[in-house]
Amino acid sequence: MGIQIDKDKCTGCGRCLAVCPFGCMEVVERKAIIKEGCTVCGACRDVCEFEAVAIERGSSRGTPDIEKYSGVLVFAEQHQGKLKDCTLELLGAGKKLADKLQQELAAALIGSEVDMLCPPLFAHGADKVYLFQDEILKFYHTDPYAAAMTAVIAQQKPSIVLFGATTTGRDLAPRLAARLRTGLTADCTELEIEDESGLLMQIRPAFGGNIMASIKCSNYRPQMATVRPKVMKKPVPDILRRGEIIRIEGKINPKTIRTKVIQVIETMDQIVNLEEAEIVVSGGRGLGKAENFHLLEELAKSLGGAVGASRAAVDAGWKPHSFQVGQTGKTVCPKLYIACGISGAIQHLVGIQTSDMIVAVNKDPEAPIFKVADFGIVGDLFQIIPELTQVVREFKGDNGSGECER
């Protein structure tokens, strides 16, 4: 194991016992010892004032025994017992990488009473599921999830670990990367394996979407990335596909969980949440005032979509920040994005450019939004949007479907 206690330095103070997430330390004859169940998470080293704990980790020379790392691991994000769509997308993307490397694809499933999620993970391509269950893991908290993921990674030693670039993934992954002392690339929109080296090429937008960058992590393992939701395609499930469940035995010490979720508030003012919506109708400065957003709400409702807003509309106080699409707001990737009265500043385009289809309605024919639109209408949104809502309603009515499929 890569962890050692220097008996000369250890004073038996016991601080490491208190912080071990897995309760696997003990003080015997005034010296700390490490028992079965250690995941080499490093909590004991971090707290030791006497530098008595040493862990073999990456240095500038890289991760030791780098060749022992193999396979692709996907963090299977779930919320209240339901898998997030991005998890399935990651399995699709991860499978391609694993196939090219001729290595296995595994999922790390962390939560409480989530066994029933194993079959869909297999159906979407996982060969193995590392299952870490504990009542304490019912809600996402950084500390215990980081401890559980460390345990999974220590057991599987994956070459690549993928997370959805969600509020959970973007909270957990950097914490974990720092703990493992390895590289992490945020918000990737493309992943591929470099032919000769077999390294993960991580491609992402940066600099306000003005540039794309290709990033690699040569000397450290695992190679970690968060992947923007909805960019990768969900694989077609094969419900007959089976795999192996590997249960990680470990009990997380509740005292090591520092934050506590006391309340979860689902906002009801959005028909569909923005990041997950298949259709988004957004409004900008051209709407003129807050009340006019009802035009967009009607259209969004007829399409079964969500409403968003540009920075200008949010700064004007017409919508709260949670509606903002763009650089200092949310990144969306719907099948259809309809920009109404939005000029198309670069900071807005960054948040929408991976949409499948962009429609713009603006009275200014010179508005930059038209350059990125698949379909543009120059004209008065106050007339065009109600017309469009009417046409959609009639069509849906004729169709008898009522709502657009999501």
């Binding site: 950084t142 973007r170 950097p174 590289g183 600099f207 290709s214 934050t259 670069i346 450019q353 038209f370």
Partner: protein, 266 residues
Amino acid sequence: MGMQIIVCIKQVPDTAEIKRVQINPETGTIIREGIPSVVNPLDEYALEEAVRIKEKQGGKVTVLSMGPAQAEDALRKGLSMGADEAILLCDRAFAGADTLATAYTLSAAIKKIGRFDLILCGQQAIDGDTGQVGPSLAEQLHVPQVTYVNRVEIEGQNLRVRREVEGGYEELHCPLPALLTVVKGINEPRIPTFSSLAEAMEREIHIWTAGDLGAEADRLGLEGSPTWVVRIWTPEVRRNGQVIENSPAEAAQKLASFLKQKGILS
């Protein structure tokens, strides 16, 4: 003694002002000349929140940045908004740092500062857009973190914070010391007055080098960075869409046909 608050800020190119990024074909790096620099907009929310907490609770706000000498301007903005002290981590050895090495460098500086109750960061910087430095720093300082925070209340030695997540909010308790990354909407950052700006120009900015930090040299800058940028390029964002100018009714019909044809309206 009041709350000891550290705000980590970054000076970034004002991407809102960029029409098109130019890349130097020889070095493969971005040409930054002519692009104005600003304090990362999300960091201003962190600064404002820190100053508000200080105004209510008493204490001290230290503003910290890693960057080239010109990042002093960003720190002066922090001082003009009400920070008490400013530290710039400036050394060639820090150059080329990825998020892990950046967070390591900041952690070394914070250990040198000593006692702190709260660290505030913007959710992400508008140039890198990673949002990784905050959580990485929290881990390296062994303190709890809460990300995407849009409300902070202090209850003795604890925080009650609200976190913006997909489809709603979470409320959490978090003990101090802690690190929070904040989103826009948490507050309305003040505009510094002319006199506060003038005063900030007179203040001292502490400059710390790698030697001052007593950090492990092989964990700094490019050498200490696990990730490397292999290549950058400018994407083609232009789509060859059709733009029409018809009567509202006609335009709506044409758009509907287009959406049907593309299989979106079905």
